[in-house]
Amino acid sequence: MAVIDSPRIVTARAGYEDSFTLARYLETGGYEGLRKALTMFPEDVAKQVDDASLLGRGGAGFPAGRKWSMLRKAPVSYLVVNGDESEPATFKDHFLVERDPHQLIEGIIISAYALQVSQAFLYLRGEFALGLERVQQAMNEAYEYGALGSKIFGSDFSLDLVVHPGAGAYICGEETALIEGLEGKRGFPRIKPPFFPAVSGLYGEPTVVNNVETMSNVPWIVLNGGAAFAALGGGRSTGTRLFALAGRVKNPGIYEIEMVKNTFRDLIYDPALGGGITNDRKIKAFIPGGVSAPWFGPDLLDLPMGQDEVAEKGSMLGSGSVVVFDETSCVVRAAWRITKFFSRESCGQCTPCREGSGWIERAMYRLEHGGGRMEDLELLLDLCDNIAPGLTWPPQQTTICVLGSSIPSSVHSAISMFRDEFAVHVANQGCPFD
Protein backbone atom coordinates (compact mmCIF):
# COMPACT_ATOMS: atom_id res chain seq x y z
CA MET A 1 0.00 0.00 0.00
CA ALA A 2 1.23 3.40 -0.88
CA VAL A 3 2.07 5.79 1.95
CA ILE A 4 0.44 9.04 0.95
CA ASP A 5 -0.37 10.65 4.29
CA SER A 6 3.01 12.33 4.77
CA PRO A 7 3.07 16.13 5.11
CA ARG A 8 3.05 18.19 1.95
CA ILE A 9 6.27 20.10 2.20
CA VAL A 10 6.66 21.75 -1.19
CA THR A 11 3.18 21.25 -2.68
CA ALA A 12 1.14 22.53 0.28
CA ARG A 13 -0.43 25.31 -1.79
CA ALA A 14 -0.89 23.33 -4.99
CA GLY A 15 -4.64 23.15 -4.52
CA TYR A 16 -5.17 26.92 -4.68
CA GLU A 17 -5.87 28.61 -7.99
CA ASP A 18 -3.93 31.68 -6.83
CA SER A 19 -1.07 29.75 -5.21
CA PHE A 20 1.47 32.02 -6.90
CA THR A 21 0.32 35.30 -5.37
CA LEU A 22 1.80 37.00 -2.32
CA ALA A 23 -1.63 37.27 -0.69
CA ARG A 24 -2.16 33.50 -0.78
CA TYR A 25 1.41 32.86 0.25
CA LEU A 26 1.10 35.05 3.36
CA GLU A 27 -2.25 33.51 4.24
CA THR A 28 -0.69 30.06 4.24
CA GLY A 29 2.31 30.77 6.46
CA GLY A 30 4.52 32.36 3.82
CA TYR A 31 7.74 34.13 4.85
CA GLU A 32 7.39 32.82 8.43
CA GLY A 33 10.43 30.62 7.82
CA LEU A 34 12.43 33.67 6.78
CA ARG A 35 11.27 35.66 9.83
CA LYS A 36 12.35 32.79 12.06
CA ALA A 37 15.69 32.36 10.25
CA LEU A 38 16.53 36.02 10.73
CA THR A 39 16.28 35.57 14.52
CA MET A 40 18.83 32.73 14.35
CA PHE A 41 22.57 32.77 13.75
CA PRO A 42 23.36 31.99 10.10
CA GLU A 43 25.39 28.91 11.05
CA ASP A 44 22.41 27.59 13.05
CA VAL A 45 20.17 27.96 10.00
CA ALA A 46 22.74 26.03 7.98
CA LYS A 47 22.84 23.41 10.73
CA GLN A 48 19.09 22.83 10.44
CA VAL A 49 19.52 22.06 6.74
CA ASP A 50 22.47 19.83 7.58
CA ASP A 51 20.41 18.02 10.26
CA ALA A 52 17.63 17.54 7.72
CA SER A 53 20.24 15.79 5.52
CA LEU A 54 18.43 17.26 2.56
CA LEU A 55 19.87 15.62 -0.54
CA GLY A 56 20.15 17.93 -3.55
CA ARG A 57 17.12 17.43 -5.78
CA GLY A 58 18.79 18.26 -9.08
CA GLY A 59 19.99 14.78 -9.96
CA ALA A 60 23.32 14.08 -8.33
CA GLY A 61 21.82 13.91 -4.82
CA PHE A 62 24.69 15.59 -2.98
CA PRO A 63 23.69 16.67 0.56
CA ALA A 64 22.87 20.38 0.49
CA GLY A 65 24.09 20.92 4.03
CA ARG A 66 27.50 19.51 3.19
CA LYS A 67 27.70 21.68 0.10
CA TRP A 68 27.14 24.65 2.36
CA SER A 69 29.47 23.65 5.19
CA MET A 70 32.35 22.85 2.84
CA LEU A 71 32.06 26.43 1.84
CA ARG A 72 31.71 28.14 5.11
CA LYS A 73 35.47 27.81 5.60
CA ALA A 74 35.91 30.42 2.87
CA PRO A 75 33.31 33.16 2.52
CA VAL A 76 30.86 32.42 -0.28
CA SER A 77 30.38 35.10 -2.90
CA TYR A 78 27.30 33.98 -4.79
CA LEU A 79 24.29 31.72 -4.49
CA VAL A 80 23.11 30.43 -7.86
CA VAL A 81 19.85 28.54 -8.15
CA ASN A 82 19.52 26.03 -10.93
CA GLY A 83 16.09 26.17 -12.57
CA ASP A 84 17.25 25.05 -15.99
CA GLU A 85 15.20 21.88 -15.78
CA SER A 86 15.70 20.04 -19.08
CA GLU A 87 16.21 16.37 -18.27
CA PRO A 88 13.62 14.69 -20.48
CA ALA A 89 10.44 13.69 -18.63
CA THR A 90 11.32 15.87 -15.63
CA PHE A 91 8.79 18.59 -14.89
CA LYS A 92 8.84 19.15 -11.13
CA ASP A 93 10.73 22.46 -11.17
CA HIS A 94 8.38 23.74 -13.85
CA PHE A 95 5.56 23.01 -11.40
CA LEU A 96 7.28 24.70 -8.43
CA VAL A 97 8.28 27.79 -10.38
CA GLU A 98 4.84 28.39 -11.85
CA ARG A 99 2.74 27.38 -8.88
CA ASP A 100 4.72 28.50 -5.86
CA PRO A 101 7.34 31.10 -6.82
CA HIS A 102 7.26 32.74 -3.39
CA GLN A 103 8.21 29.49 -1.68
CA LEU A 104 11.21 29.23 -3.97
CA ILE A 105 12.16 32.87 -3.35
CA GLU A 106 11.82 32.44 0.43
CA GLY A 107 14.04 29.34 0.25
CA ILE A 108 16.63 31.33 -1.68
CA ILE A 109 16.59 34.21 0.82
CA ILE A 110 16.94 31.87 3.81
CA SER A 111 19.77 29.98 2.12
CA ALA A 112 21.51 33.22 1.22
CA TYR A 113 21.25 34.27 4.87
CA ALA A 114 22.69 30.95 6.04
CA LEU A 115 25.56 31.34 3.58
CA GLN A 116 25.84 35.09 4.19
CA VAL A 117 25.81 36.05 0.55
CA SER A 118 24.25 39.26 -0.66
CA GLN A 119 23.81 38.45 -4.33
CA ALA A 120 21.83 35.51 -5.66
CA PHE A 121 20.93 34.48 -9.19
CA LEU A 122 18.04 32.34 -10.29
CA TYR A 123 18.80 30.73 -13.65
CA LEU A 124 15.50 29.70 -15.14
CA ARG A 125 14.96 27.77 -18.31
CA GLY A 126 14.16 30.17 -21.16
CA GLU A 127 11.25 28.04 -22.36
CA PHE A 128 9.42 28.74 -19.09
CA ALA A 129 7.82 31.99 -20.32
CA LEU A 130 5.01 31.84 -17.77
CA GLY A 131 7.35 30.71 -15.01
CA LEU A 132 9.70 33.62 -15.74
CA GLU A 133 6.82 36.06 -15.53
CA ARG A 134 5.45 34.54 -12.33
CA VAL A 135 8.88 34.59 -10.68
CA GLN A 136 9.55 38.18 -11.72
CA GLN A 137 6.13 39.23 -10.43
CA ALA A 138 6.73 37.39 -7.15
CA MET A 139 10.16 38.98 -6.80
CA ASN A 140 8.67 42.42 -7.33
CA GLU A 141 6.16 41.65 -4.60
CA ALA A 142 8.87 40.33 -2.29
CA TYR A 143 10.93 43.50 -2.72
CA GLU A 144 7.83 45.60 -2.03
CA TYR A 145 7.04 43.49 1.04
CA GLY A 146 10.55 43.95 2.43
CA ALA A 147 11.59 40.31 2.08
CA LEU A 148 14.22 41.18 -0.53
CA GLY A 149 16.59 44.12 -0.94
CA SER A 150 18.14 46.28 1.72
CA LYS A 151 17.74 45.41 5.44
CA ILE A 152 15.32 42.51 5.05
CA PHE A 153 12.46 42.79 7.58
CA GLY A 154 14.50 45.39 9.44
CA SER A 155 17.43 43.03 10.07
CA ASP A 156 21.10 43.49 9.29
CA PHE A 157 20.83 41.31 6.23
CA SER A 158 20.47 42.50 2.64
CA LEU A 159 20.08 40.48 -0.52
CA ASP A 160 19.51 41.16 -4.19
CA LEU A 161 18.09 38.47 -6.42
CA VAL A 162 18.25 38.50 -10.21
CA VAL A 163 16.31 36.13 -12.43
CA HIS A 164 18.37 35.05 -15.42
CA PRO A 165 16.55 33.54 -18.41
CA GLY A 166 18.34 30.71 -20.18
CA ALA A 167 18.05 30.27 -23.92
CA GLY A 168 17.55 26.61 -24.71
CA ALA A 169 20.46 24.31 -23.88
CA TYR A 170 20.14 21.09 -21.88
CA ILE A 171 23.79 21.27 -20.92
CA CYS A 172 23.20 24.46 -18.93
CA GLY A 173 21.56 22.30 -16.28
CA GLU A 174 25.12 21.12 -15.50
CA GLU A 175 26.28 23.50 -12.80
CA THR A 176 29.52 24.70 -14.38
CA ALA A 177 27.87 25.12 -17.79
CA LEU A 178 25.12 27.07 -16.07
CA ILE A 179 27.76 29.36 -14.59
CA GLU A 180 29.17 29.88 -18.09
CA GLY A 181 25.68 30.84 -19.27
CA LEU A 182 25.44 33.25 -16.37
CA GLU A 183 28.74 34.77 -17.44
CA GLY A 184 27.28 35.33 -20.91
CA LYS A 185 29.12 32.54 -22.69
CA ARG A 186 28.39 29.27 -24.48
CA GLY A 187 27.34 26.58 -22.05
CA PHE A 188 30.59 24.62 -22.03
CA PRO A 189 31.06 22.66 -18.79
CA ARG A 190 34.29 23.36 -16.92
CA ILE A 191 36.62 20.60 -15.85
CA LYS A 192 36.50 19.54 -12.18
CA PRO A 193 38.99 19.84 -10.57
CA PRO A 194 39.81 22.68 -10.41
CA PHE A 195 36.49 24.30 -11.27
CA PHE A 196 34.31 23.03 -8.45
CA PRO A 197 31.86 25.92 -8.02
CA ALA A 198 32.53 25.83 -4.27
CA VAL A 199 36.14 26.69 -4.98
CA SER A 200 36.04 28.56 -8.27
CA GLY A 201 32.55 29.29 -9.53
CA LEU A 202 30.91 32.43 -10.87
CA TYR A 203 33.66 34.90 -11.90
CA GLY A 204 36.15 32.48 -10.32
CA GLU A 205 34.70 33.06 -6.85
CA PRO A 206 33.27 30.52 -4.38
CA THR A 207 29.69 29.82 -5.43
CA VAL A 208 26.93 27.56 -4.17
CA VAL A 209 24.68 26.06 -6.85
CA ASN A 210 21.43 24.47 -5.66
CA ASN A 211 18.36 23.16 -7.46
CA VAL A 212 14.90 24.78 -7.37
CA GLU A 213 13.28 21.89 -5.46
CA THR A 214 16.13 21.86 -2.94
CA MET A 215 15.56 25.57 -2.27
CA SER A 216 11.80 25.11 -2.03
CA ASN A 217 12.26 22.67 0.87
CA VAL A 218 14.24 25.13 2.97
CA PRO A 219 11.38 27.29 4.41
CA TRP A 220 9.66 24.18 5.83
CA ILE A 221 12.91 22.84 7.27
CA VAL A 222 13.62 26.09 9.08
CA LEU A 223 10.05 26.37 10.40
CA ASN A 224 9.73 22.75 11.52
CA GLY A 225 13.35 21.92 12.24
CA GLY A 226 15.81 19.71 10.44
CA ALA A 227 14.99 16.79 12.72
CA ALA A 228 11.33 16.79 11.63
CA PHE A 229 12.44 16.58 8.01
CA ALA A 230 14.98 13.85 8.76
CA ALA A 231 12.25 11.84 10.53
CA LEU A 232 10.53 11.43 7.17
CA GLY A 233 11.80 8.95 4.64
CA GLY A 234 14.47 6.46 5.56
CA GLY A 235 18.22 5.90 5.52
CA ARG A 236 20.08 8.58 3.62
CA SER A 237 16.91 9.61 1.72
CA THR A 238 15.09 11.95 4.07
CA GLY A 239 11.96 14.03 3.65
CA THR A 240 9.51 13.93 0.81
CA ARG A 241 10.32 14.21 -2.83
CA LEU A 242 8.55 15.29 -5.99
CA PHE A 243 8.26 12.50 -8.50
CA ALA A 244 7.30 13.29 -12.06
CA LEU A 245 5.43 10.36 -13.53
CA ALA A 246 5.05 10.18 -17.31
CA GLY A 247 4.62 7.75 -20.16
CA ARG A 248 1.99 5.01 -20.39
CA VAL A 249 0.18 5.52 -17.10
CA LYS A 250 -3.41 6.55 -16.42
CA ASN A 251 -2.59 9.57 -14.26
CA PRO A 252 0.71 11.12 -15.24
CA GLY A 253 1.66 14.04 -13.02
CA ILE A 254 3.67 15.38 -10.12
CA TYR A 255 3.42 13.49 -6.83
CA GLU A 256 4.98 14.52 -3.55
CA ILE A 257 5.55 11.39 -1.51
CA GLU A 258 7.79 10.36 1.33
CA MET A 259 11.14 8.98 0.24
CA VAL A 260 11.78 5.22 0.59
CA LYS A 261 8.30 4.52 2.10
CA ASN A 262 6.87 3.88 -1.36
CA THR A 263 7.90 1.50 -4.10
CA PHE A 264 7.80 2.09 -7.84
CA ARG A 265 4.75 -0.17 -7.90
CA ASP A 266 2.99 2.17 -5.47
CA LEU A 267 3.77 5.21 -7.59
CA ILE A 268 2.73 3.61 -10.85
CA TYR A 269 -0.30 1.59 -9.72
CA ASP A 270 -1.85 3.19 -6.62
CA PRO A 271 -5.24 4.72 -7.51
CA ALA A 272 -4.27 7.91 -5.65
CA LEU A 273 -1.05 8.15 -7.68
CA GLY A 274 -0.34 6.79 -11.16
CA GLY A 275 -3.49 4.65 -11.25
CA GLY A 276 -1.97 1.85 -13.33
CA ILE A 277 -0.97 1.37 -16.94
CA THR A 278 -2.97 2.97 -19.76
CA ASN A 279 -5.76 0.64 -20.94
CA ASP A 280 -4.74 -1.81 -18.18
CA ARG A 281 -1.96 -3.16 -20.34
CA LYS A 282 1.15 -4.85 -18.96
CA ILE A 283 4.24 -2.89 -17.99
CA LYS A 284 7.34 -3.63 -20.05
CA ALA A 285 9.98 -1.49 -18.36
CA PHE A 286 10.46 1.87 -16.65
CA ILE A 287 13.11 4.52 -16.28
CA PRO A 288 13.60 5.27 -12.57
CA GLY A 289 15.22 8.72 -12.70
CA GLY A 290 15.40 10.60 -15.99
CA VAL A 291 16.75 9.49 -19.36
CA SER A 292 20.32 9.49 -18.09
CA ALA A 293 19.46 6.55 -15.84
CA PRO A 294 19.63 2.85 -16.79
CA TRP A 295 16.20 1.21 -17.10
CA PHE A 296 14.49 -1.25 -14.80
CA GLY A 297 12.27 -4.20 -15.68
CA PRO A 298 8.99 -5.18 -13.96
CA ASP A 299 11.00 -7.37 -11.55
CA LEU A 300 12.17 -4.21 -9.76
CA LEU A 301 8.72 -2.65 -9.31
CA ASP A 302 8.80 -3.44 -5.60
CA LEU A 303 12.02 -1.53 -5.00
CA PRO A 304 11.63 1.31 -2.48
CA MET A 305 12.09 4.75 -4.03
CA GLY A 306 15.23 5.88 -2.22
CA GLN A 307 18.58 7.22 -3.39
CA ASP A 308 20.69 4.28 -2.19
CA GLU A 309 18.05 1.62 -2.84
CA VAL A 310 17.97 2.51 -6.54
CA ALA A 311 21.75 2.97 -6.74
CA GLU A 312 22.31 -0.54 -5.35
CA LYS A 313 20.33 -1.98 -8.25
CA GLY A 314 22.49 -0.20 -10.81
CA SER A 315 20.57 2.92 -11.66
CA MET A 316 19.69 6.25 -10.05
CA LEU A 317 16.78 8.25 -8.72
CA GLY A 318 18.35 11.19 -10.54
CA SER A 319 15.94 14.00 -11.23
CA GLY A 320 12.95 12.08 -9.87
CA SER A 321 11.22 11.42 -13.16
CA VAL A 322 9.73 8.02 -13.85
CA VAL A 323 8.85 7.02 -17.42
CA VAL A 324 6.73 3.94 -17.98
CA PHE A 325 6.81 1.72 -21.09
CA ASP A 326 3.94 -0.70 -21.64
CA GLU A 327 3.86 -3.83 -23.78
CA THR A 328 2.93 -1.83 -26.90
CA SER A 329 5.82 0.66 -26.54
CA CYS A 330 8.79 0.19 -28.82
CA VAL A 331 11.92 0.25 -26.70
CA VAL A 332 14.18 0.51 -29.74
CA ARG A 333 12.40 3.68 -30.80
CA ALA A 334 12.57 5.08 -27.26
CA ALA A 335 16.30 4.39 -26.94
CA TRP A 336 16.90 5.88 -30.41
CA ARG A 337 15.01 9.06 -29.51
CA ILE A 338 16.87 9.43 -26.22
CA THR A 339 20.21 9.10 -28.02
CA LYS A 340 19.08 11.62 -30.62
CA PHE A 341 18.48 14.00 -27.75
CA PHE A 342 21.97 13.52 -26.33
CA SER A 343 23.48 13.88 -29.78
CA ARG A 344 21.67 17.17 -30.29
CA GLU A 345 22.51 18.50 -26.84
CA SER A 346 26.17 17.45 -26.60
CA CYS A 347 28.13 20.70 -26.29
CA GLY A 348 30.87 19.26 -28.50
CA GLN A 349 33.90 19.80 -26.30
CA CYS A 350 34.79 16.13 -25.76
CA THR A 351 35.21 13.69 -28.64
CA PRO A 352 33.67 10.56 -27.04
CA CYS A 353 30.43 12.45 -26.38
CA ARG A 354 30.28 14.56 -29.54
CA GLU A 355 31.16 11.77 -31.98
CA GLY A 356 29.88 8.82 -29.97
CA SER A 357 26.36 10.21 -29.53
CA GLY A 358 25.95 10.87 -33.25
CA TRP A 359 27.33 7.47 -34.19
CA ILE A 360 25.05 5.64 -31.75
CA GLU A 361 22.09 7.70 -32.93
CA ARG A 362 22.66 6.76 -36.58
CA ALA A 363 23.05 3.06 -35.78
CA MET A 364 19.91 3.14 -33.64
CA TYR A 365 18.05 5.01 -36.39
CA ARG A 366 18.71 2.31 -38.93
CA LEU A 367 17.75 -0.45 -36.53
CA GLU A 368 14.43 1.28 -35.89
CA HIS A 369 13.72 2.41 -39.44
CA GLY A 370 15.14 -0.45 -41.52
CA GLY A 371 18.71 -1.21 -42.58
CA GLY A 372 19.86 -2.55 -39.23
CA ARG A 373 22.04 -5.65 -38.78
CA MET A 374 22.56 -7.91 -35.77
CA GLU A 375 26.26 -6.91 -35.76
CA ASP A 376 25.06 -3.40 -34.97
CA LEU A 377 24.32 -4.48 -31.42
CA GLU A 378 27.98 -5.31 -30.77
CA LEU A 379 28.98 -2.12 -32.52
CA LEU A 380 26.63 -0.14 -30.28
CA LEU A 381 27.93 -1.78 -27.12
CA ASP A 382 31.49 -1.07 -28.25
CA LEU A 383 30.64 2.57 -28.87
CA CYS A 384 28.99 2.77 -25.46
CA ASP A 385 32.07 1.19 -23.92
CA ASN A 386 34.25 3.84 -25.53
CA ILE A 387 32.22 6.57 -23.86
CA ALA A 388 31.85 4.89 -20.47
CA PRO A 389 34.51 2.14 -20.23
CA GLY A 390 33.26 -1.10 -18.70
CA LEU A 391 29.62 0.00 -18.86
CA THR A 392 29.46 -0.06 -15.09
CA TRP A 393 27.19 1.93 -12.81
CA PRO A 394 28.05 4.52 -11.69
CA PRO A 395 29.75 4.97 -15.06
CA GLN A 396 33.39 5.64 -15.73
CA GLN A 397 33.82 9.09 -17.16
CA THR A 398 35.86 9.92 -20.28
CA THR A 399 34.42 13.40 -20.69
CA ILE A 400 34.47 16.74 -18.87
CA CYS A 401 30.90 16.38 -17.59
CA VAL A 402 28.45 13.55 -17.03
CA LEU A 403 26.39 14.15 -20.18
CA GLY A 404 28.80 11.83 -21.97
CA SER A 405 28.54 9.01 -19.47
CA SER A 406 24.73 9.30 -19.57
CA ILE A 407 24.54 8.48 -23.28
CA PRO A 408 25.05 4.68 -22.98
CA SER A 409 22.38 4.18 -20.29
CA SER A 410 19.32 3.76 -22.48
CA VAL A 411 20.98 1.93 -25.39
CA HIS A 412 22.83 -0.45 -23.08
CA SER A 413 19.62 -1.09 -21.10
CA ALA A 414 17.56 -1.69 -24.23
CA ILE A 415 20.07 -4.12 -25.71
CA SER A 416 20.61 -6.09 -22.51
CA MET A 417 16.91 -6.28 -21.61
CA PHE A 418 15.32 -6.60 -25.06
CA ARG A 419 17.83 -8.20 -27.44
CA ASP A 420 14.99 -10.26 -28.92
CA GLU A 421 13.14 -7.10 -29.92
CA PHE A 422 16.21 -5.85 -31.75
CA ALA A 423 16.30 -9.20 -33.57
CA VAL A 424 12.71 -8.67 -34.69
CA HIS A 425 13.58 -5.18 -35.91
CA VAL A 426 16.44 -6.62 -37.97
CA ALA A 427 14.37 -9.50 -39.33
CA ASN A 428 11.53 -7.13 -40.11
CA GLN A 429 13.88 -4.44 -41.49
CA GLY A 430 11.93 -1.88 -39.54
CA CYS A 431 9.76 -1.37 -36.52
CA PRO A 432 7.18 -4.11 -35.84
CA PHE A 433 5.14 -1.68 -33.74
CA ASP A 434 4.35 0.61 -36.69
Partner: protein, 205 residues
Protein backbone atom coordinates in the same frame (compact mmCIF):
# COMPACT_ATOMS: atom_id res chain seq x y z
CA UNK B 1 21.90 55.93 -32.61
CA UNK B 2 20.58 52.92 -30.88
CA UNK B 3 19.02 50.12 -32.88
CA UNK B 4 16.86 49.13 -29.91
CA UNK B 5 13.70 51.17 -29.35
CA UNK B 6 14.08 53.73 -26.59
CA UNK B 7 12.11 51.65 -24.04
CA UNK B 8 14.01 48.46 -24.86
CA UNK B 9 17.32 50.34 -24.75
CA UNK B 10 16.41 51.53 -21.28
CA UNK B 11 15.58 47.99 -20.19
CA UNK B 12 18.84 46.79 -21.73
CA UNK B 13 20.87 49.27 -19.71
CA UNK B 14 19.00 48.26 -16.56
CA UNK B 15 19.79 44.60 -17.26
CA UNK B 16 23.51 45.32 -17.63
CA UNK B 17 23.50 47.12 -14.28
CA UNK B 18 22.06 44.04 -12.50
CA UNK B 19 25.18 41.97 -13.00
CA UNK B 20 28.68 42.33 -11.56
CA UNK B 21 30.07 42.12 -15.11
CA UNK B 22 28.36 43.42 -18.25
CA UNK B 23 28.89 40.26 -20.31
CA UNK B 24 26.62 38.38 -17.89
CA UNK B 25 23.67 40.25 -19.38
CA UNK B 26 24.30 38.58 -22.75
CA UNK B 27 21.43 36.07 -22.73
CA UNK B 28 18.71 38.45 -21.44
CA UNK B 29 19.89 41.14 -23.88
CA UNK B 30 19.65 38.76 -26.81
CA UNK B 31 16.09 37.98 -25.74
CA UNK B 32 15.39 41.74 -25.88
CA UNK B 33 16.72 41.96 -29.44
CA UNK B 34 14.39 39.13 -30.40
CA UNK B 35 11.53 40.93 -28.67
CA UNK B 36 12.01 43.86 -31.03
CA UNK B 37 13.09 42.16 -34.25
CA UNK B 38 11.75 38.61 -33.83
CA UNK B 39 15.26 37.30 -34.48
CA UNK B 40 18.87 38.38 -33.93
CA UNK B 41 19.45 41.07 -36.50
CA UNK B 42 22.91 42.28 -37.46
CA UNK B 43 22.26 45.66 -35.86
CA UNK B 44 20.86 44.03 -32.73
CA UNK B 45 23.95 41.86 -32.37
CA UNK B 46 26.17 44.90 -32.75
CA UNK B 47 24.26 46.69 -30.02
CA UNK B 48 24.52 43.73 -27.63
CA UNK B 49 28.27 43.68 -28.30
CA UNK B 50 28.47 47.35 -27.39
CA UNK B 51 26.42 46.87 -24.21
CA UNK B 52 28.37 43.82 -23.04
CA UNK B 53 31.80 45.22 -23.98
CA UNK B 54 32.39 42.33 -26.38
CA UNK B 55 32.52 42.03 -30.17
CA UNK B 56 29.79 40.98 -32.63
CA UNK B 57 31.79 37.78 -33.19
CA UNK B 58 31.63 37.00 -29.46
CA UNK B 59 27.90 37.65 -29.42
CA UNK B 60 27.25 35.54 -32.49
CA UNK B 61 29.48 32.78 -31.15
CA UNK B 62 27.47 32.69 -27.94
CA UNK B 63 24.05 33.14 -29.51
CA UNK B 64 24.49 30.33 -32.04
CA UNK B 65 25.02 27.87 -29.17
CA UNK B 66 21.51 28.35 -27.82
CA UNK B 67 18.37 26.94 -29.44
CA UNK B 68 16.08 29.84 -28.60
CA UNK B 69 17.98 32.39 -30.67
CA UNK B 70 17.40 32.70 -34.39
CA UNK B 71 20.02 34.21 -36.64
CA UNK B 72 17.51 34.72 -39.44
CA UNK B 73 13.88 35.83 -39.47
CA UNK B 74 11.25 33.32 -38.33
CA UNK B 75 7.47 33.28 -38.27
CA UNK B 76 5.34 35.36 -35.94
CA UNK B 77 4.57 32.12 -34.13
CA UNK B 78 7.27 29.54 -33.47
CA UNK B 79 5.46 26.26 -32.91
CA UNK B 80 7.45 23.65 -31.01
CA UNK B 81 6.24 20.05 -30.84
CA UNK B 82 8.10 17.79 -28.44
CA UNK B 83 8.99 14.29 -29.58
CA UNK B 84 11.23 13.30 -26.68
CA UNK B 85 10.59 10.09 -24.82
CA UNK B 86 7.45 10.93 -22.79
CA UNK B 87 5.85 12.68 -25.79
CA UNK B 88 7.06 9.96 -28.14
CA UNK B 89 5.04 7.44 -26.10
CA UNK B 90 2.01 9.72 -26.44
CA UNK B 91 2.27 10.21 -30.21
CA UNK B 92 4.58 13.22 -30.47
CA UNK B 93 6.07 12.19 -33.82
CA UNK B 94 2.60 11.77 -35.31
CA UNK B 95 1.49 15.16 -33.98
CA UNK B 96 4.61 16.77 -35.42
CA UNK B 97 3.82 15.29 -38.82
CA UNK B 98 0.25 16.51 -38.56
CA UNK B 99 1.43 19.99 -37.56
CA UNK B 100 3.62 20.10 -40.64
CA UNK B 101 0.59 19.41 -42.85
CA UNK B 102 -1.68 21.91 -41.06
CA UNK B 103 0.89 24.70 -41.07
CA UNK B 104 2.03 23.99 -44.61
CA UNK B 105 5.73 23.93 -43.80
CA UNK B 106 8.27 21.24 -43.09
CA UNK B 107 10.00 20.88 -39.74
CA UNK B 108 12.56 23.65 -39.29
CA UNK B 109 11.02 25.98 -41.87
CA UNK B 110 8.54 28.85 -42.04
CA UNK B 111 5.14 28.91 -43.76
CA UNK B 112 4.83 31.00 -46.93
CA UNK B 113 2.69 33.62 -45.21
CA UNK B 114 5.42 34.12 -42.61
CA UNK B 115 3.05 33.30 -39.78
CA UNK B 116 4.42 29.98 -38.52
CA UNK B 117 7.79 28.33 -38.00
CA UNK B 118 7.64 24.66 -37.02
CA UNK B 119 10.23 23.07 -34.78
CA UNK B 120 10.80 19.57 -33.44
CA UNK B 121 11.57 20.24 -29.84
CA UNK B 122 13.35 18.50 -27.01
CA UNK B 123 11.59 17.97 -23.68
CA UNK B 124 9.67 21.08 -22.61
CA UNK B 125 9.00 19.86 -19.05
CA UNK B 126 5.23 19.47 -19.27
CA UNK B 127 5.20 15.71 -19.72
CA UNK B 128 1.90 14.98 -17.98
CA UNK B 129 0.05 16.70 -20.82
CA UNK B 130 1.72 14.96 -23.72
CA UNK B 131 2.54 15.44 -26.52
CA UNK B 132 3.62 18.89 -25.42
CA UNK B 133 3.24 21.86 -27.76
CA UNK B 134 4.51 25.38 -27.16
CA UNK B 135 3.84 28.46 -29.26
CA UNK B 136 6.41 31.18 -28.61
CA UNK B 137 7.29 29.29 -25.42
CA UNK B 138 3.75 29.40 -24.06
CA UNK B 139 2.25 26.02 -23.25
CA UNK B 140 -0.88 25.60 -25.39
CA UNK B 141 -1.69 22.04 -24.28
CA UNK B 142 -3.11 20.81 -27.56
CA UNK B 143 -2.43 17.11 -27.42
CA UNK B 144 -4.62 15.98 -30.34
CA UNK B 145 -4.70 16.80 -34.04
CA UNK B 146 -8.16 18.40 -33.63
CA UNK B 147 -7.25 20.71 -30.77
CA UNK B 148 -4.02 21.61 -32.56
CA UNK B 149 -5.92 22.62 -35.69
CA UNK B 150 -8.39 24.65 -33.64
CA UNK B 151 -5.49 26.50 -32.05
CA UNK B 152 -3.93 27.24 -35.43
CA UNK B 153 -7.27 28.62 -36.60
CA UNK B 154 -7.44 30.93 -33.60
CA UNK B 155 -3.87 32.09 -34.12
CA UNK B 156 -4.62 32.85 -37.79
CA UNK B 157 -7.62 34.92 -36.74
CA UNK B 158 -5.55 36.76 -34.14
CA UNK B 159 -7.68 35.51 -31.25
CA UNK B 160 -4.80 34.50 -28.96
CA UNK B 161 -2.68 37.64 -29.15
CA UNK B 162 -3.32 38.70 -25.55
CA UNK B 163 -1.86 35.46 -24.29
CA UNK B 164 0.70 34.59 -26.96
CA UNK B 165 2.71 37.67 -28.00
CA UNK B 166 4.73 37.68 -31.23
CA UNK B 167 7.88 35.58 -31.28
CA UNK B 168 10.70 37.01 -29.19
CA UNK B 169 8.69 38.57 -26.37
CA UNK B 170 9.62 36.42 -23.42
CA UNK B 171 9.09 38.19 -20.09
CA UNK B 172 6.33 40.79 -20.06
CA UNK B 173 6.69 41.51 -16.35
CA UNK B 174 9.36 44.15 -15.74
CA UNK B 175 11.65 44.10 -12.78
CA UNK B 176 10.65 46.95 -10.51
CA UNK B 177 13.87 48.85 -9.99
CA UNK B 178 17.49 47.78 -10.05
CA UNK B 179 19.62 46.39 -7.24
CA UNK B 180 18.43 47.59 -3.86
CA UNK B 181 21.23 46.71 -1.47
CA UNK B 182 23.99 49.34 -1.65
CA UNK B 183 27.52 47.92 -1.84
CA UNK B 184 28.80 49.94 1.13
CA UNK B 185 25.92 48.68 3.29
CA UNK B 186 26.66 45.08 2.29
CA UNK B 187 30.35 45.46 3.12
CA UNK B 188 29.51 46.76 6.61
CA UNK B 189 26.96 43.98 7.17
CA UNK B 190 29.32 41.25 6.02
CA UNK B 191 32.25 42.38 8.13
CA UNK B 192 29.94 42.77 11.14
CA UNK B 193 28.52 39.28 10.61
CA UNK B 194 31.96 37.76 10.19
CA UNK B 195 33.26 39.37 13.38
CA UNK B 196 30.20 38.13 15.28
CA UNK B 197 30.62 34.62 13.91
CA UNK B 198 34.33 34.49 14.76
CA UNK B 199 33.50 35.62 18.28
CA UNK B 200 30.88 32.87 18.66
CA UNK B 201 33.32 30.28 17.34
CA UNK B 202 35.95 31.47 19.82
CA UNK B 203 33.50 31.26 22.71
CA UNK B 204 32.55 27.72 21.72
CA UNK B 205 36.18 26.67 21.51
Amino acid sequence: MSHLRIDLRQRAEELVSLYPRPRSAMLPLLHLVQEQDGYLSEAGIAEVAELTLTTPADVRGTASFYDMYFLEPVGKYVVAVCTNVACLLAGGLELLEHASTTLGCSVGSTSDDGLFTLEESECLADCDIAPCVQVNHRYVRTTTAETFDALVGELREGKREHEIPSHGTLIRVRRSGGLRAPKSEIATERSGAKAARDKRAEEQA
